[in-house]
């Protein structure tokens, strides 16, 4: 049994009729340009309908962020089985406000999916919501990872934001505040025997690692140094040193104090 851990995050939600503008404003909070990020992203997410867009930026312990925005409209009840688990579907069948809740649960599942960095092989039914009635609640990815979410309704739209929470193993030797690109580049410089000054956030990992063994050394060394754990799904979208530092920060931020 583990003690409950409180995670404090700051969430910025930007809505706009222009998805690119919403993403630019939300990314600005984290110092990330839209051209520098790919999805799924640990701390940024974007959703849009034909009329509106919502972008979310999370500052704090997020290891995956998802947002989904939907207009309320009639939905065929039979489609629930495609995204809800049996117990969630059973709750929905008993719910008086079934039509609205159908759309809300869709946004919850979409946001959960986006908040899971390892979602490549998953479906919406893989995410289990603890309490389908809760507007703010907890769900679990197939790995057991906890994802918290909150849904809000504004006029004819429903918006759900989700953030994944990772836990950190003991033994980190470097405090979060010192995880800068320069600090990570200096460590890599020692492994690669390359001058750290030549490394930039846009440097491709494939260009600096001599072979796959060296890549293994890099990722294991950073995890040991910073006391975090990566998965293959985490590493799949990582192309540049900037991506790697961003992942490292997200994982370290997600550690309970």
């Amino acid at each position: 049994m583990t003690a409950p851990v409180r995670h404090r995050v700051r969430v910025l939600v930007v809505t706009s009729t222009d998805a690119r503008r919403a993403l630019r404003l939300a990314g600005g909070m984290l110092g990330i340009a839209p051209t520098e990020c790919s999805f799924p992203h640990p701390r940024l997410s974007l959703s849009h309908t034909d009329r509106q867009a919502a972008a979310v930026a999370v500052a704090g312990p997020a290891a995956g962020t998802g947002v989904d925005l939907e207009h309320l409209r009639p939905a065929d009840p039979r489609t629930a089985r495609f995204f809800l688990r049996p117990e969630e579907e059973a709750w929905l069948r008993r719910c008086p406000a079934r039509a609205v809740e159908h759309v809300r649960l869709w946004t919850v599942k979409e946001a959960l999916f986006k908040a899971d960095l390892g979602n490549a092989t998953r479906t919406l039914r893989d995410y289990a919501i603890d309490d389908p009635a809760a507007r703010t609640g907890v769900a679990r990815a197939p790995t057991g990872e906890r994802i918290v979410y909150t849904s809000t309704r504004r006029r004819d739209t429903i918006l759900t934001v989700a953030t994944a929470i990772h836990t950190r193993h003991p033994g980190a030797s470097m405090p979060t505040s010192t995880i800068t690109f320069d600090a990570v580049a200096a460590r890599l410089g020692r492994i690669l025997s390359a001058p750290a000054g030549g490394l930039t956030p846009r440097t491709f990992l494939a260009d600096v690692a001599a072979d796959s063994f060296e890549l293994v050394e890099i990722v294991v060394d950073l995890q040991e140094e910073f006391g975090v754990t990566f998965t293959q799904a985490d590493l799949r979208p990582i192309l540049t040193l900037g991506d790697l530092v961003e992942l490292l920060r997200a994982r370290t931020d997600a550690a309970p104090d």
Binding site: T143, G144, H169, G171, I191, S212, F213, E214, L215, V216, E217, V219, V220, D221, Q223, E224, T229, F230, T231, Q232, D234, L235
Partner: protein, 185 residues
């Protein structure tokens, strides 16, 4: 006594795989902290020593090692992707060591095995059994950090990849090791 072409190729393949193992564990040994550091460094030294044993064995049999390119480990990484963390490094090692022991046992059953080859394999097998043992213990100790189910799933995934890589290796080099006769485990 000189080596037949296929014998020479196979012993060179063993040597090359041990060198790759040493290079891989050298990388891990440089970076790992904590109680596993001593065992992983020992493992790295064993792999390098095994490569030396095979070099000496081939020389005793009046031959020279062939320079082979990509090793078995490279094919593993192609099949399963790069190990993402220390648990995956240990899991891939466990699966690989089991395959190595199976292959060496198979070679020991070959009636025409040269005495020098038998001595070399028997010497290496002592270390390989220890590798299996300490890696198994390390994985058990990692269950708390990574989750018992995640460790088990990773081993299953790597086991499946191992069977695929071995089948591919047999398809590519089967004629080289056909003299070992009995089917692969």
């Amino acid at each position: 006594m000189s080596l037949a072409d296929n014998d020479r190729w196979l012993l060179s393949y063993y040597r090359s795989s041990e060198i790759n193992g040493a290079l891989f564990f050298g990388r891990v040994a440089r970076t790992i902290r904590g109680p596993l550091q001593a065992n992983v460094t020992h493992h790295f030294a064993d792999e390098a020593a095994h490569a030396h044993y095979w070099t000496a064995c081939i020389s005793d049999l009046d031959s020279t090692p062939l320079a082979l390119g990509r090793g078995y480990q490279d094919q593993y990484l192609d099949a399963v992707g790069m190990p993402a963390n220390l648990m995956e490094v240990m899991a891939i090692t466990q699966v690989f060591e089991r395959r190595v022991i199976g292959q060496y046992r198979r070679h020991l059953r070959y009636p025409g095995i040269q005495a020098a080859v038998r001595r070399t394999i028997e010497r290496i097998m002592v270390d390989e059994r220890w590798h299996i043992s300490y890696v198994r213990d390390a994985l058990a100790g990692m269950a708390q950090r990574y989750g018992e189910a995640e460790v088990a799933q990773t081993l299953d995934r790597f086991d499946a990849a191992d069977r695929e890589v071995y089948a591919r290796t047999l398809a590519e080099y089967g004629d080289r090791i056909a003299f070992l006769a009995d089917p692969a485990p």
